[in-house]
């Protein structure tokens, strides 16, 4: 993975020192809250319901074991022994003291981490396919481009006052595991008719109160030109994006109002006028960055051995876990392991310090010291030999990290909701817990089912693109949940549609149960819920859901 050079390290060190002084002046009364607030937010520090919350960037969801151990240390020393992994592949600590934050940032800097640009109207953490570099369906590893974009986007002087926050995601594979189409800019690595690899560029996606899927603005652009093309898009957004209305400030609103064709024209004119050479990515620069992300050893390993087969036969839990949580690796005999942070009844995405340390140990012992995060709030060990899977599974199981539920009903995405978040209007976590417990016994029968819950319209829980989406709303002081059906976040992304009136909190489990019953009754071979929903329409679900109303 990328390693800081002396410039990076010096910059982060200077930034920590600057922040230390800002906190000192705030606590001494030399800075008012109005003056300090933007400064702390630039460093990812929010003030929430119970304490300060520190959001730390995990660039394109890639962590070393050393970094994960440091997050465990921070959880134990400065928080309450756990952290919360988010849909932006960040980690949030929810019980932070302002007076201790300079020490936390200094500690992060020691392991090449920071919290810069995890808030505010800036480029946020660039996200990527969590299987990048090891996926069997990959055209090319997107991580070098993620890092190049991260460096381009960090403290970019021209874009330090964007109309609103800006999120970029990359996938090197056609099967989208990075929710590309819900991003301000989404990039797929593609191969054109001549066999050249470049990018398909999508623009204008986002969720929140106005959910819109990104559209292709350019079907193919050469790799050498990707930065200048991104810069052209950002220039158009920076010029025409609405700063007069917070709710219309995202680029999706600009694309919607101009139309994708006019947006394309504007960007192309801007791009044509730019000095491409200044931002060109020569092959050597790409190759130099790619050296930080070496391809896995191509030597095949055995697909199994006697011990593996014995465990597979004796332990149905292991067999289920292999089936559900283990994905093929591009090198035969290796595997990609998803570590579920979704045991039914726990807070989705939460991870204790001890669990982080265990995963770091397993990464060191069996997985080249590498860990990934998914936007579905799970961890990934991307390079495990298949014959090591039994021992990895046993260790994860002891730590309650081996629930075989990836992509199943109990693996719910949920934002922190009203239990922590100052923006939330309803709770997400208790609803997720109740639903996961209720659906887990029959989730294998149900098959792939993505349930996503947001505690407010900002949609951090991605409810719009859940097969079943739940949005918590406050109605005269009571929590209600609006249900959407038919969404998905993959390469066939779709926005869910509202099935009917919102239901009370204590009716959510029963309502989702009824929806699942209808789906199981009506689905055809190979269909997931969005496909069934599109085929049969809203009525069968609505009829059952509101039969007693």
């Amino acid at each position: 993975m990328y390693q800081y050079d002396t410039y990076d390290q010096r910059f982060i060190g200077e930034r920590v020192a600057q922040y230390q002084d800002q906190v000192r002046r705030r606590l001494a009364g030399q800075l008012s809250e109005d003056e300090f607030r933007p400064l702390r937010l630039m460093n990812g520090l929010y003030l929430q319901l119970h304490a300060y919350m520190l959001r730390i960037a995990i660039p394109y969801g890639t962590l070393s074991s050393r970094q994960l151990r440091r997050l465990a240390y921070i959880a134990r020393r400065w928080d309450r022994g756990f952290g919360h992994f988010t849909t932006r592949t960040n980690i949030q600590f929810h019980w932070i003291k302002l007076e201790e934050t300079p020490d936390i940032l200094a500690s992060l800097a020691e392991v090449e981490m920071h919290s810069i640009q995890t808030s505010g109207n800036s480029f946020r953490n660039t996200t990527a396919d969590p299987f990048a570099g090891v996926a069997v369906d990959e055209i090319e590893d997107p991580r070098p481009y993620c890092e190049i974009i991260r460096q381009w986007a960090t403290l970019h002087p021209e874009f330090s006052f964007l109309p609103r926050k800006f999120k970029i995601a990359l996938s090197g594979a056609p099967n989208d595991r990075a929710a590309i189409k819900i991003h301000d800019i989404g990039l797929y690595l593609r191969r054109n008719a001549e066999g050249e690899v470049g990018f398909e560029v999508l623009v204008g996606g986002g969720l929140g109160r106005t959910p819109i899927l990104a559209q292709t603005i350019r079907p193919f652009i050469a790799k050498r030109d990707i930065l200048s093309y991104l810069e052209a898009i950002l220039r158009i957004y920076n010029q025409y994006g609405r700063r007069d209305n917070l709710f219309k400030a995202r680029i999706k609103i600009l694309v919607q109002s101009l139309g994708i064709d006019r947006m394309r024209e504007e960007v192309e004119v801007e791009w044509a006028a730019m000095d491409h050479a200044a931002l060109a990515l020569p092959e050597e620069a790409i190759a130099e960055m790619a050296r930080f992300f070496p391809a896995p050893d191509p030597t095949p390993a055995p697909a199994d051995d006697e011990a593996f087969r014995a465990v597979l036969e004796a332990e149905c839990g292991f067999a289920r876990w292999v089936e559900q949580n283990v994905a093929p690796h591009k090198v035969p005999g290796h595997a990609i392991v998803t570590v579920s942070l979704k045991e039914p009844g726990v807070t989705p995405g939460d991870c204790t310090a001890e669990q982080m340390e265990l995963v770091a140990d397993l990464a060191d012992r069996y997985g080249f010291g590498e860990i990934r995060l998914t936007h579905e709030q799970n961890l990934v060990l991307p390079q495990i030999r298949r014959i090591d899977l039994p021992v990895v599974w046993r260790s994860l199981k002891e730590a309650r990290l081996a629930t075989a539920n990836v992509a199943l009903a109990s693996a719910i995405i949920a934002c922190p909701g009203l239990d922590y978040c100052g923006l939330a209007t309803a709770r997400s976590i208790p609803v997720a817990q109740r639903l996961a417990i209720a659906l887990a016994p029959r989730e294998r029968e149900i098959g792939d089912l993505q349930i996503k819950i947001s505690g407010c319209i900002n949609a951090c829980g991605h409810h719009h693109v859940g097969h079943i989406g739940l949005l918590g709303v406050d109605k005269n002081g009571e929590e209600f949940y609006q249900i959407t059906l038919g969404g998905s976040a993959d390469e066939n992304a779709a926005l869910g549609t509202i099935v009917g009136p919102a239901v009370k909190s204590d009716e959510v489990v029963n309502s989702v149960d009824k929806i699942v019953d209808v789906y199981l009754k009506l689905r055809q071979e190979g269909e997931q819920l969005p496909e069934t929903y599109r085929r049969v329409g809203n009525k069968p679900f609505k009829d059952v859901l509101y039969a007693a109303h």
Partner: protein, 91 residues
């Protein structure tokens, strides 16, 4: 005020650690909502103004008014959000 009447109190988050605190009868701040000074709607703005007064830094970030009731001697906020702030996450 009768025990069932809606009262007002001032709350905010403590500057140094972000902990929710409540304005007390003696003009200080307590993390226990039961220590809060409850006042009528008419007196609430005065209480808020007092809470915002003092040399910098104020020990509390952005104090504000909320509604609450005293029930069997215990102070109970009227909204779920403020209950969660006062008593912690529900999970």
């Amino acid at each position: 005020m009768a025990e069932t009447d809606v009262s007002h109190l001032v709350t905010g988050n403590r500057l140094r650690d972000g902990v929710p605190v409540y304005r007390t009868v003696d003009g200080g701040w307590s993390p226990a909502i039961d220590d809060a000074r409850l006042v009528s709607a008419e007196a609430s703005e005065t209480l808020l103004a007092e809470s915002q007064d003092g040399p910098p830094p104020l020990p509390v970030v952005a104090p504000y008014l909320i509604e609450a009731r005293r029930v069997k001697g215990k102070v109970r906020p009227l909204t779920l959000r403020e209950s969660i702030r006062a008593f912690g996450p529900t999970i």
